[in-house]
Symmetry: C2
Subunit: 395 residues, 2 copies
């Protein structure tokens, strides 16, 4: 028999599986090209040509040098040094390879850092709406996820409630900007206030509170909006980065942690994260792709493809009467459900062959998430359905 904890997980996941099955069922009836699946954050934009070139180069001259072998659990030293340099060049920081741990994507990195930091019952704060997997990542290490309710005006974090909910048990705060599911980028003003509150509370309680910045969407920011680099604002900062979206490599599981040497207990965090990477079973980030991304640190997917999707989709939905904040980054829109029960709205959308995710999954009922990392044509073809949906509800 499976463990009690996993029994709960299996039950909870049945909702998402049901949606997946519904999508397959619809595709069976209407043809896959007539089902509009906006439920997944699986990038449709191809990786930059540099990725293929890098793989070819490495495989052609790399095997003798053990390109598929084990290395230090934290990753190849030269790859980590190249990443540190690239961050320093962009953000005027002073990292070395010692600050970088290569991880199995950002999800692997977050698990490594929570394993490193959390004692049972330690609290981790997140701001709704948030990526639902944080629940599991924190629970894996017996931590408690504390959710700050959403600010649905502009989806910047609700800092008044944040201040109230910090306790002596608060060990970490997750920041996710550009945000999944809203596409909002936390402004520099927000970051300054937020880090100010943390500094105050650290002093008040005599504790260390770490910001864990989950940044898979950092490179996906439109209109040249700047995404503040957290370690410049707050000493106890740990950054979880991923190449899943910046290079469209989500299946390859490649990312890294940046652990600021300004962070309290830095040496122990580095040692422990190295061990956590090993004992959680990751062992190390995939070796070939460590070398691949080192050759692609200046490469980026074609953001204009997502931007076209964003403009089309956002403007169309607004013209039909939907309410939505314009996403500044990532490839999601967080749209207010025209009816209070957004799960019901998702079911109605299903009937128009449209698959979208209820906001409850992100701790923010009354809204739905639409992932627009799909073909332009898919969006175009889905628009009449969205129009009809809201018109029916207005009647």
């Amino acid at each position: 028999m499976i463990s009690k904890k996993m029994q709960e997980q299996v039950q909870n996941s049945s909702v998402i599986r049901a949606m997946f099955e519904e999508g397959k069922r619809l595709a069976g009836i209407h043809g896959a090209e007539n089902v509009f699946d906006f439920s997944l954050g699986n990038p449709n934009v191809k990786p930059p040509e540099d990725v293929k070139k890098a793989i070819m180069e490495i495989v052609n001259d790399g095997e003798a040098a053990g390109v598929h072998g084990y290395m230090n659990n934290s990753g190849y030293e030269d790859v980590r040094a190249a990443i540190a340099k690239s961050i320093n060049d962009k953000f005027d920081t002073t990292f070395t390879h010692n600050n970088i741990i290569m991880t199995v994507g950002a999800a692997g990195g977050l698990n490594v850092i929570f394993k490193t930091l959390l004692n049972p019952e330690d609290q981790v704060i997140t701001f709704a709406p948030f990526f639902g997997e944080y629940r599991s990542y924190v629970k894996n290490y017996e931590g408690e996820l504390v959710i700050i309710s959403p600010n649905t005006i502009d989806f910047q974090p609700n800092l008044d409630e944040f201040k109230e909910k910090i306790t002596p048990k608060t060990k970490a705060v997750i920041i996710n900007s550009p945000n999944n599911p809203t596409g909002v980028i936390y402004s520099e003003e927000t970051i300054l206030k937020l880090s100010g509150i943390l500094k105050e509370k650290q002093k008040e309680f005599g504790t260390d509170i770490y910001i864990v910045s989950d940044e898979p969407y950092r490179e996906l920011a439109y209109d040249n909006i700047e995404v503040p680099y957290l370690s410049k604002y707050y000493e106890n900062t740990i950054i979880g980065y991923s190449f899943s979206k910046s290079l469209s490599l989500p299946g390859e599981r490649i990312g890294y942690l940046v652990i600021s040497d300004q962070a309290a207990d830095f040496e122990n965090i580095i040692s422990a994260a190295n061990i956590a990477n090993r004992i959680l079973g990751f062992v190390n980030a995939p070796s070939l792709f460590q070398r691949v991304i080192a050759k692609c640190l200046d490469a980026k997917v074609d953001l204009e493809i997502y931007n076209r999707n964003r403009e089309l989709f956002y403007n169309a939905l607004l013209s039909y009467g939907y309410e939505c904040i314009k996403p500044e980054g990532a490839f999601y829109m967080f749209v207010k459900s025209p009816i209070e029960n957004e799960a019901e709205f998702c079911r109605m959308a299903n009937k128009k062959n449209i698959l979208i995710v209820p906001g409850s999954a992100f701790g923010c009922p009354g809204y739905v998430r639409i992932a627009y990392c799909v073909a332009y044509k898919t969006i175009e073809k889905s628009l009449p359905g969205f129009k009809a949906l809201i018109e029916e509800l207005k009647k």
Copy 2:
């Protein structure tokens, strides 16, 4: 500050790190070519040429099909089907893709299955000597590792003690054959007796006890010795496989779980393992290498290279007066320390620039592990040191 659990881990790991640092220090003094590092299981034999060919083929025509994208958390269905077929062809089993979950190596697979199965305080039995990481893999999920003391006659499991130590809390038994660190292959007789005991105890306690067979060394068996396929002997069998050694790809982190549909609670185990893969942060096994190994299921590293090392090393050590059982598989020898305190023996070896691992790390003091997955020349050059060591001790 890091978590209490990780503080212990950081302290414990300092021994291994000390050895690693000692190796670097010796290399600095004597030159790397004069330091004989037998401490790591990092394969020196190159991957088969098929691996490179497969990477090239896939990358050349694969990108359009999303070769680097997300797939089902359990892995590509066609890859899993190909693996099932390959197992069926070899072992006359009847698996389908439904029985296979692609994992981040065997270490990832073991973590997924223990997360799936273990409630706090559940017991997992292992036979000394055993791969030391099992301690962490079980502790990650609050389980208790129960160690059966070694049978140093032939290093087959001690089944009398095994029988006594099974309790109503026993949830799983780890089998690792060919074994790390001894190189011993558990005989069919052993497997029959062992599964007989388990069946009896399951009945007695009214429980399900799963065999978790950790098989990264399955393909590394010399002299055509057969390694019994566990699911044929016992219904509650879960196999953790890895391509790390069979294809020399340890850095790429690619393996799979086989979950027999004869296993109790099969459907839930499959669902829960799929979710565990996701929430532990693996998400899925690396996508490119899923496709690569599917094209290399009949490929294998050149075993003769390890075999030559084995014959040279084993015969030489025996002729000097060392005691050791001849390894039948893997690339390790487990040699009796000429003095009782094997850690002291390892330190003496260090002075001859020889790096080997104390048996205590594998739950079997009085022995040392020698990994011979190194260049033939390294072994040759190290032999005078081994000879001198035992002669000094005989004086």
